[in-house]
Every structure is written in structure tokens, then in C-alpha cells.
């Protein structure tokens, strides 16, 4: 391949980068709070709510993400017209599927973080007169978040790589363009470029989280 061919291929692959970044950002923004909500609901006083949440987490973590995407994109539209309308766009299905799936993982991560907060912290808050909401916001959450941070880093790196799965519901992202370029040019170089793109993304992410870990260390 000539240099200009390499450039052209890289450019083609970068077209998919927008999709990857959109998926990553939207899924993180949606699934982190949703995961936290699940963590809180899993501690709810009402037992059936706890069961439902735990069942949800169990199913989401226990089945392949690709199967979940297929179910949403190919399966749900058969259920009724509402789903048929709402889930026409593969991207919407991908965002929904990823967010629901990652929320379950984040819920587990937060649960672990929550367990790590010492009982004495709650007692200190109580004797200082902080109410439940204040205790959660100002004492528990920051400590939970700090403990959860390394696992959150892991999950987000996995998310970047998992975005390649949307290929299976015919969304054009980096992998799609790489495969197309390989069959067009007969060279495997596009795959190498795809490697580098994912690596670069994750390096940036790792740098960001390293910085965040330092900043929130205590």
C-alpha cells in the first residue's frame, strides 16, 4: 500500500470513530447514574423491589451483550407497534442495549464500593446530626466512588472495545470500515490501523482515569 492509500484508509476508518465515541459517551452518561440507582434500589426496604433489581442484574450480567442487542434490535419490534417505531434505528437500540447492560455492571461495582464504607462513617454522620440524604451525598458517595474508580476505569475500557459489537446490528463503526477496506484493497493493513485507533482511544481514557484517581486520592 502506498502512503496515500494508507491515509485514505485511515480516513475511512476514522469515519467510524464518531460512532464509537458517541456510543461511549452516551452509554457512560446513562449507565453510571442508572447503575447507581440500581445499587440504591437493591438496598430498598421493599423486598420485591430488591428481588426485581437483583434479577435484572443477574440476567444482564449472565447473558451475552450481543444476544441482548439482537433481542432489542431484531426481537422487540415484533412485540408491538410502539417498539417497532421506537427501535427502528439501530443506533438507538445499541445505545439502549449498552446502557442497560453496563448499568448492571456498574451497579455491582457500586455495591462493592458501598460495602467498603465503614459503619463508623454512618454513625459519625448520625451523631453529627446529618440526615440520610446528607450522609449519602457528603460522606458515603465520595468514599464509594473512590473505591469504585479503578473498576469503573476497567469497565470503560471494556466499553470502548465492546462498541465493536454493534457491527452485528449493522452499525458502521471502526471495525466495519476496516473490514470493508480489507476486502477492497486485499491488504490486512486496515486491521492494523483499527488496532491503533482502539489503542489510542483507550490510552487517552487510561490517562484521564489516572489523573482522576490522583485527584481524588486521600
Amino acid at each position: 500500500m502506498t502512503t496515500s492509500e494508507i491515509l485514505a484508509t485511515t480516513q475511512a476508518l476514522l469515519q467510524g470513530l464518531g460512532t464509537v465515541i458517541t456510543l461511549f459517551v452516551v452509554v457512560m452518561v446513562a449507565s453510571l447514574p442508572l447503575g447507581f440507582l440500581l445499587t440504591m434500589l437493591a438496598r430498598c426496604r421493599i423486598a420485591p423491589i430488591r428481588w426485581l433489581v437483583n434479577a435484572y442484574i443477574y440476567i444482564m450480567r449472565g447473558t451475552p451483550l450481543m444476544l441482548q442487542l439482537f433481542f432489542i434490535y431484531y426481537g422487540l419490534p415484533f412485540v408491538n407497534d410502539f417498539f417497532k417505531m421506537a427501535l427502528r434505528s439501530a443506533m438507538v437500540c445499541a445505545l439502549l442495549g449498552f446502557s442497560l447492560n453496563y448499568a448492571a455492571y456498574f451497579a455491582e461495582i457500586f455495591r462493592g464500593g458501598l460495602l467498603s464504607v465503614d459503619k463508623g462513617q454512618y454513625e459519625a454522620c448520625q451523631v453529627l446530626g446529618l440526615n440520610r440524604v446528607q450522609t449519602t451525598l457528603y460522606a458515603v458517595l465520595p468514599q464509594m466512588f473512590r473505591v469504585a474508580l479503578p473498576s469503573i476505569t476497567n469497565e470503560s475500557i471494556t466499553l470502548v472495545k465492546d462498541t465493536a459489537l454493534v457491527f452485528s446490528i449493522s452499525i458502521m463503526e471502526v471495525l466495519y470500515y476496516a473490514k470493508a477496506a480489507v476486502s477492497r484493497t486485499g491488504s490486512i493493513l486496515p486491521y492494523a490501523i483499527a488496532f491503533l485507533i482502539y489503542l489510542a482511544l483507550n490510552s487517552l481514557l487510561q490517562l484521564f482515569f489516572n489523573w482522576l484517581e490522583k485527584k481524588t486520592a486521600y
Binding site: 463508623g120 462513617q121 454513625e123 459519625a124 451523631v127 453529627l128 446528607q134 460522606a139 468514599q143 486521600y218
Partner: protein
């Protein structure tokens, strides 16, 4: 009127009676040392006073207002009002590890009482100076020694201007040198007429700083008196035995 009034207090865990019948009162300006063997129920008694444990029966009044009367709790707002008159210091400090010393002191004050930032900061500095920690106001708790942590924890409790301070073995996690600096701060508090209820194994503190001693044993207050009475002429053999084993 006594600041704390406790009558027929009972408390068990899973059917095991830990406090069988506790009666005492704390008057304004009292410095009371609570001593007794491990497992006697000292911590449980203190925790009941500040509503960290629910009692099974009996009465607790704080400044004349019932927290619980004959085993029946007052409405939540009244319970908060009663416990708000007390500050508590734990054996293991329980500082907020993610907050600086300054924020450890100002955060509760600002959130609970709505105090402004400037005012809270000024009060934090003043209070830290009282416990000899003024120069560490911007330190993180993880960088402090145990004695320093405990002094900050005392300052944090003082920020809310309690009428009564409860201490649960405040020096038991500290080595002897650090114990002294914390006892020094507590002695200063006593000299400033803070009303204090102190569970402790420090017999020198009980002897020299407290004006009254409660000897607790098997979930009840077996004997109570001035340091001279308790140390000089204990009425019960159990008290004498306990002191015999504890005087260094």
C-alpha cells in the same frame, strides 16, 4: 434539672440482656468516668444515650426532654433535638477520610445548621486551636497520627456546640504518648466546664479529672461515687477486684 437522666434502662441483643437496669444522672459541669470490665455494657449504654442503639425499656431524658420514656420513643424530631445536645467521640475517630481537617469540621456545621462558609471556617480554626491542631487545618486525615486524629474528632464534635460530650474509650486505640495528648485536651475541656461522660480505662483520668465515677458491671451500675470513694473505699468486692487489676 440534670442534663441527662437515665432510669431503668434495659437493652439486649438477640435476646441476650446487655443492659439489665441502668440508672444514673449527669448534672451540668459533671465529668463522669465510666469504668468497668470489658463487656460490661459501657459502650452500649453510651450508644443508647445518643440513639445509635434502640433501648428495650426504660427512660432517657436529655435536659428534661424525654428521648425515650418507659421504652416508648419520642417523635423523630424530638429525638433529634435531644441527641443534638450531645457530641460523641469514638474509639476509632471516624473522621471523614475524603475531607480535609477543615472540611471535616465545617461540613457538618454548614449542612446541619446552615452556617455560612466564612463563619464556619473561622470557627473551625478557633476550635482546632483549642485542641492544638490549628496548624494542620488543611491536612488530610490520612496524614495525621492517631492522637491528632482524635483531637480533630473532638474538635469536630465541639463545632456543633454540644452541652454534653460523650467519649467511648477515646484513647484505647492510641499508644501511651498519644494518649497523653488526647487526655490533655479532655482535661482542658473539663476545666472549661464542659459536661462529659467518658468511658475509659485510663484510671489516672478517672482519679484526677472526673468528679464522679460509675463502675459498670454485668449491664448495670454496680457502684457510683467520687474518685475518693471508689478508689479509696470501694463498697463492692467486684469494684475492688477490678481496680486491683487496673491500678498500675
Amino acid at each position: 434539672m440534670s442534663l441527662i437522666f437515665v432510669k431503668n434502662l434495659r437493652k439486649g441483643f438477640q435476646g441476650v440482656e446487655v443492659l439489665t437496669d441502668v440508672n444514673f444522672q449527669v448534672d451540668k459541669g459533671d465529668v463522669i468516668a465510666v469504668i468497668g470490665p470489658s463487656g460490661a455494657g459501657k459502650s452500649t449504654m453510651l450508644r443508647c444515650l445518643i440513639d445509635l442503639e434502640k433501648v428495650d425499656g426504660g427512660t432517657i431524658e436529655v435536659e428534661g426532654e424525654p428521648l425515650v420514656k418507659d421504652g416508648i420513643y419520642a417523635p423523630p424530631a424530638q429525638v433529634r433535638r435531644a441527641t443534638g445536645k450531645m457530641g460523641m467521640v469514638f474509639q476509632n475517630f471516624h473522621l471523614f477520610p475524603h475531607l480535609s481537617v477543615r472540611r471535616n469540621l465545617t461540613m457538618p456545621l454548614m449542612k446541619v445548621k446552615g452556617t455560612g462558609k466564612e463563619q464556619a471556617n473561622a470557627l473551625a480554626l478557633e476550635t482546632l486551636k483549642k485542641v492544638g491542631m490549628g496548624d494542620r487545618i488543611d491536612a488530610m486525615p490520612s496524614t495525621l497520627s492517631g492522637g491528632q486524629k482524635q483531637r480533630v474528632a473532638i474538635a469536630r464534635a465541639l463545632m456543633l456546640n454540644p452541652d454534653i460530650m460523650l467519649f467511648d474509650e477515646p484513647t484505647s486505640a492510641l499508644d501511651p504518648m498519644l494518649t497523653l495528648e488526647v487526655l490533655g485536651v479532655m482535661q482542658k475541656l473539663a476545666a472549661d466546664h464542659m459536661t462529659m461522660l467518658v468511658v475509659t480505662h485510663e484510671m489516672s483520668f478517672a482519679k484526677e479529672v472526673a468528679n464522679r465515677i460509675l463502675f459498670m458491671c454485668d449491664g448495670t451500675i454496680l457502684e457510683e461515687g467520687t474518685p475518693e470513694q471508689i478508689f479509696g473505699h470501694p463498697k463492692h468486692q467486684r469494684t475492688a477486684d477490678f481496680l486491683g487489676n487496673n491500678i498500675k
